[in-house]
Symmetry: C2
Subunit: 86 residues, 2 copies
């Protein structure tokens, strides 16, 4: 079966996030107040052919750790998404 999987890659706690900090600094000038702790990250969407949901997530996690993230500074998490385009 084909599963739609989303991998979220976020910076680990304590790692500097200049992109998020820059966005946060720009917000008041654009009229947005009350927004804090902005963190930038990446996401990857893909179709994975697997026998079960567990197998699809396992494959996505392995792939995320080897190819999509830098485990020294980033965390990767795989989750099943609703299929938008089968």
């Amino acid at each position: 079966m084909n599963y739609f999987v989303i991998v979220d890659v976020t910076l680990r706690q304590g790692i500097a996030d200049p992109e998020g900090a820059t966005i946060e600094r720009a917000l008041p000038a654009l009229g947005f107040s009350g927004v804090s702790n902005v963190k930038a990250g990446k996401s990857f969407r893909m179709s994975i052919d697997a026998a079960s949901e567990e197998e699809a997530l396992e494959k996505a996690t392995a792939l995320a750790e080897r190819l999509l993230s830098n485990p020294v500074i980033e965390d990767a998490a795989a989750r099943l998404g609703e299929t938008v385009t089968p």
Copy 2:
């Protein structure tokens, strides 16, 4: 109240995604088969101070369209996340 909001920015359908295509091409050489339709995107996590969930999401959507995405080629969607760090 403080809400934890996640904004997902993805390329619109039909827009070329060279990053996703490159990842997809690299997968067989790394031993991953059965993965297709890889799409790269961005995500932003933030805390928003608002009176209600609706207000927080509205603020995040406005902010995503003005600052976090390029509406010509990208779609932005805001959702509430589980609070990891309050």
